[in-house]
Symmetry: C2
Subunit: 468 residues, 2 copies
């Protein structure tokens, strides 16, 4: 046997990705049992609160987007012999958009994305700097692969972080350089602790090349202020770091006092204000999987490069050509996301209604869940800001910690397994994202329409009573 | 600047992928000029004979497949208020299939694929051994990443080969161990030269772990006999090698005397015949991008594992979860490919007609192109067998070789650039695939409906006359 536990690439063994890890696999097994009618299970369904995939729940896809996609997939619908019937099923603007897309399929994504970015930031954006990818994960992989040129390259990642980053850094034999987010400050960033993490890494002879910032945060939801973003840009200039700005949750903000500001905008503003300064390289990631569109299954996304020369762009082009050609449906979805129906279009009203509805639903569910956490003994959950997640801290009783250790589980993992087994709610332990030692968290989506808050409260009380 | 020519991961610089390389970029630039109406170009269109993407030409997608995809993308078409009109546009079996897919979207691909494999091979296949991927390229990357555990791991690849393999081996810092295909024997495999290549690598202290076999071949089209496949399995057992069988062209065979036989079938046959023997690990790749279906843009494919334990399968599952979640449209297309309309289904007739038409067209175009090569002075092209390519050998005159060298180009590259500039035909030089030193080839698809054969003949005569 060639591929065995002992011969497999050890970087793969090292890579952890708890989002679909053992607890999720366990949940899937229970789901099967439920479907088979096994009866000694104390709940009737699994709530997959581990994955930020809105369409796994009751979030319907945006009608206009799917109408266009449907027409593009089967262009015969636009032919003479069909068009009369097609018009009974599809609005005119969807038909027109499908025609435009079919005539320009090769060009469409990057052009539209650059226009979207220009509108968002008020700064120019060129299609030549935009690379369509199979979702933001692919984009992150491409950039990390380019950066990690030997096994002593450091990439700064937040703690807690979306574990894609640590996993991919492991896969490419880089070194994650951890900086801690401030839980007491609603999970914001603290430039001093970032500086310290950098200096510590340099002391250890690690060559730090980039900093990953997730805004709004995953798993924290934190939405960064302009001041913080400016300070990160300044820090990156000083330390010659490339910034990877994961901005896939830019549409997911639930607090009217907060506003998403892109790294691109802040960087360009600074460059205009101080000519010749701030020549920082920036890679901005976006995706059709999140926002109100939530099209995880289509695999569409893009990265935008700021401050890159043609040589490096060609190498990225080559890498994309070798490996990760983005699916055409994903490219179409990028076009639709950044270029949705406009005010006087036939579909505008429905589109707007659907978008607002999803936003409102997410907001309401987030608040409801947050309220549940606020009522739970020994649970502390920060302000609802953005993304699709809450990341509460749980005081786990000593007795439970001891039992967890005897089972060779981390205490938060132990808590999450018990939660799953008792209520069918599948969440991800904080240790999968990283957390300050001795603190315990979990990440849950607030996408579910079910009685997730009741189940969580019921379980938590029982757990605390048992182990108190 | 962090990412520059001198700091970028050197494995990426090393990786070559000529299919979309400089000649293709040049072709795209000329295409733009043609669109802009630039006049001093001696042809009116570009023929992209560099990429095996049938739908870039006049190959229409299979109607039934696209009907189902269209319905799945916009499930509202199946609702009560629409269904009467939908029935005017879609056949009943497409509607039924879409309903089934929508109810089982999470399970569908791997189950159908395993059934398809069972029907093909007459041996059991389990959905647990099948991993859906974003096309066969992703699948190949996953396996190579698992295999290459340090920078002295060797992977045997054919020469000429589809450059994905050498490129990905470079990216992961492995060592390609080249074995030469026998041009004089219609590009078949020669077990003795494979043995020699293996021994040579061992002598150089390379730890050879796997052998890549492309059947039918790319760029050669060669279709392997059972005897050859058996000898590869036996060789792999003796040398403890894992086999990566790239079988994406299994439906593309144009010679009635030839038949595709899968590695899985031969391996299982041998295992049945000799109980306890031939415990060789096999990874078989398939894709929706080739065959008569030709859905390159959807990104669907799968790999099947034979002889793997659960530990390794879990690591692969983890790797897929981190990086390359296959797009849902691709998963649906896999289902449709392995489970097409059946004899009494409403769509069967059209489906069959379309499939046969594409097969016949490809066969005819291959033969026409082969005939053109046969008529060209100093060009030798092997028998048409399979895949979507021909790989003729060209005797390039000394004068041309000298001129190429003076321009720092390989002679075949020089030939292909001249071909593009003279006729608009874009092909890939043999050096991108590897070739015996001193021989020159190029790869061209035979997908084009244009007058590619006339352009090639016209150019070649002119080229030879000029440099004779």
């Amino acid at each position: 046997m060639v591929l065995t536990e002992s011969s497999i690439n050890p970087s793969i063994l090292k890579a952890h990705y708890g989002i679909r890890g053992e607890i999720y696999i366990k949940a899937e097994k229970i789901r099967k049992k439920l479907e088979e009618g096994v009866e000694d299970i104390p709940f009737r369904d699994i709530i997959c609160a581990n994955i930020g995939n809105p369409q796994k729940f009751d979030h319907k896809p945006i009608t206009f987007f799917r109408q266009v996609l449907s027409l593009v997939e089967y262009p015969d619908l636009l032919e003479k012999h069909n068009i009369e019937n097609t018009k009974k099923l599809f609005p005119k603007d969807a038909i027109n958009r499908a025609k435009i897309l079919l005539n320009n399929i090769e060009k469409v994504g990057a052009y539209s994305a650059s226009q979207g970015v220009e509108n968002r930031d008020g700064h120019p954006s060129s299609p030549d700097d935009i690379f369509l990818t199979a979702g933001a994960s692919s984009a992150a992989m491409l950039i990390l692969q380019m950066l990690i040129s030997h096994n002593n390259i450091g990439i700064m990642v937040p703690i807690p972080q979306y574990p894609l980053y640590s996993a991919v850094i492991s896969l490419f034999n880089g070194k994650p350089v951890l900086y801690y987010l401030e839980e007491d400050n609603n999970w914001s960033m603290d430039i001093i602790s970032i500086e310290n993490a950098f200096e510590e890494a340099e002391k250890n002879k690690i060559q730090v090349k980039a900093i990953v910032v997730i805004n709004p945060g995953n798993p924290t939801g934190a939405c960064l202020t302009r001041d913080i973003i400016e300070s990160i840009v300044k820090f990156s200039e000083k330390r010659d770091l490339l910034i990877i700005a994961d901005e896939v949750y830019q549409e997911n903000i639930y607090d009217d006092d907060l506003k998403f500001i892109s790294f691109k905008k802040v960087l360009r503003d600074l460059q205009l204000q101080y000519p010749g300064r701030y020549n920082v390289q920036l890679v901005s990631l976006h995706s059709v999987s999140k926002g109100t569109i939530g099209e995880c299954g289509i695999r569409g996304g893009y990265l935008e490069l700021t401050g890159f020369d043609d040589f490096v762009k060609f190498q990225l082009y080559k890498l994309v050509s070798i490996s990760l050609c983005p699916p055409v449906p994903g490219q179409i979805m990028v076009d639709l996301m950044v270029n949705p129906p406009k005010k006087n279009d036939e579909s505008y009203k429905i589109y707007k209604k659907e978008m607002n509805y999803i936003k409102e639903v997410l907001k309401e569910r987030a608040k409801r869940l947050k309220k549940a956490f606020d009522e739970m003994e020994g649970v502390e959950c920060r302000k609802v800001q953005g993304s699709m997640y809450l990341f509460p801290r749980i005081d786990i009783p000593k007795k439970a910690i001891l039992e967890a250790r005897s089972l060779n589980k981390s205490p938060d993992e132990f808590y999450c397994i018990k939660l799953l087994e008792t209520t069918g709610v599948c969440v991800v332990p904080g240790s999968s994202f990283g957390q300050v030692q001795g603190t315990y968290h979990f990440r849950t989506t607030f996408l579910s329409d079910g009685n997730i808050d009741e189940r969580l409260m019921y379980f938590h009380k029982q757990f605390i009573d048992q182990y108190r």
